[in-house]
């Protein structure tokens, strides 16, 4: 009964609107040939009427005003935030984003290079300090006889007359 395409089509139409005279005539003819479907279709019609008569839900009389207030709050929140930045961004020249990106990349690379350079310099300095720290300096007391040692250690000047005799 309910699976006939013709009946299904008219039934679906009847859910949304009143059938036209032609549609009603076609339906009556079909129901006359299928009396077992008569009761079911009458129930459909009554249900459709009942659903159509469901009352509207009450809407508060300040509903629109509250919506407009909420929308205004949203607009103000947006203006304080991203919209202002967006207006400034839109006025920048087209090449600006690329140049800005390139600048950021170069600055980042330079920063990394300088960091490693400075790190290496400091490392070498620390290494040198550690090496020097290991060297043992002589006792300062030996320097008190320094003058005497210097005189004794001094070599005499060459005898040039004697050297000339050998030549």
């Amino acid at each position: 009964m309910g699976t006939e395409p013709f009946y299904e089509k008219l039934r679906e139409i009847s859910w949304r609107r009143k059938l036209t005279s032609a549609e009603e005539r076609e339906l009556r003819e079909w129901l006359a040939a299928h009396p077992e479907a008569q009761e079911a279709f009458e129930l459909e019609t009554v249900l459709t009427e009942a659903l159509g008569k469901m009352p509207d839900v009450l809407v508060a009389n300040n509903f629109t005003a509250r919506v407009l207030q909420a929308a205004e709050r949203e607009a103000l929140a947006g203006a304080r935030g991203g919209q202002l930045g967006w207006k400034v961004w839109r006025r920048l020249p087209r090449w600006f984003p690329r140049v800005a990106s390139a600048t950021i990349v170069v600055t980042a690379a330079a920063s990394v290079y300088l960091y490693h350079y400075n790190y290496n310099v400091e490392a070498r300095q620390q290494e040198l300090v550690q090496r020097v720290a290991k060297v043992q300096l002589p006792n300062p007391e030996i320097l008190t006889n320094f003058e005497a040692i210097r005189i004794v250690s001094a070599t005499p000047a060459p005898d040039e007359q004697l050297l000339a005799l050998f030549q």
């Binding site: 679906e12 859910w15 949304r16 129930l43 459909e44 009554v46 249900l47 009427e49 009942a50 659903l51 159509g52 008569k53 469901m54 009352p55 509207d56 839900v57 009450l58 809407v59 508060a60 009389n61 300040n62 509903f63 629109t64 509250r66 919506v67 407009l68 909420a70 929308a71 709050r73 949203e74 607009a75």
Partner: protein, 201 residues
């Protein structure tokens, strides 16, 4: 779909340009249908009002990205459904949250400006009111997707294809949801529907 074919889309394009009056027009036009859908999904008036207002705030926030790719109403009800699903998920994670807590952003505003929201059926015949209540109860017991499909069916501006887009399923699956939901409602409401007493003469 173009703005010329959909006047609401044309209004939304004006909202995109900063036209607040156009936004107000859209809110006034759709606040009732959105409340109807949201309330019947959430079954709580306070939450429904909060979520319904958030629907329009989301519309406003999305205005700058709005493109006319489908009907405005389809887009609007998709937002409404998604916000309702978020709320239903939140409920399932935090079932003990108080429903009466004051709204954190609007404490200076009177939350309720009408007296009794539980009884919203018109004061007509008792039988009619009883049927309405039974329909509401039966609808509340349906699975969410069937309930949403049937509620969206009441929106004249939405075709079956539009409803399918809101539900994010195929056209045949949408019609199947509506059919299964209606079958369940018929079974539950048969005693009331058969009498026909409530039908106006």
């Amino acid at each position: 779909m173009s703005a010329e074919q959909d006047p609401d889309a044309a209004l939304m394009l004006r909202v995109k340009q900063g036209d607040t009056a156009a936004f107000e027009q859209l809110v006034d036009k759709y606040k009732q249908p959105v409340m109807n859908v949201v309330y019947r999904m959430l079954r709580d008036m306070t939450e429904a009002e909060d979520v319904a207002q958030n629907v329009f705030v989301q519309v406003y926030k999305s205005a700058s990205r709005y493109e006319v790719s489908s009907k405005f109403s389809t887009w609007l009800f998709t937002i409404a459904r998604n916000l309702c699903l978020n709320e239903l998920r939140r409920r399932s994670r935090h079932p003990a949250d108080s429903m009466d807590a004051a709204h954190p952003e609007q404490e200076d505003q009177p939350w309720q400006q009408f007296e009794d929201k539980k009884t919203f059926s018109p004061p007509e015949t008792l039988l009619h009111g009883e049927l309405e209540q039974k329909i509401e109860e039966a609808m509340a017991e349906l699975p969410e997707n069937q309930r949403t499909a049937i509620v969206l069916c009441r929106q004249d501006e939405l075709s079956y294809e539009d409803i399918a887009k809101v539900l994010q399923c195929s056209l045949s699956a949408t019609k199947s949801l509506i059919h299964r939901g209606r079958e369940t409602l018929k079974q539950k409401l048969k005693p009331y529907l058969r009498t026909g007493v409530w039908r106006p003469k």
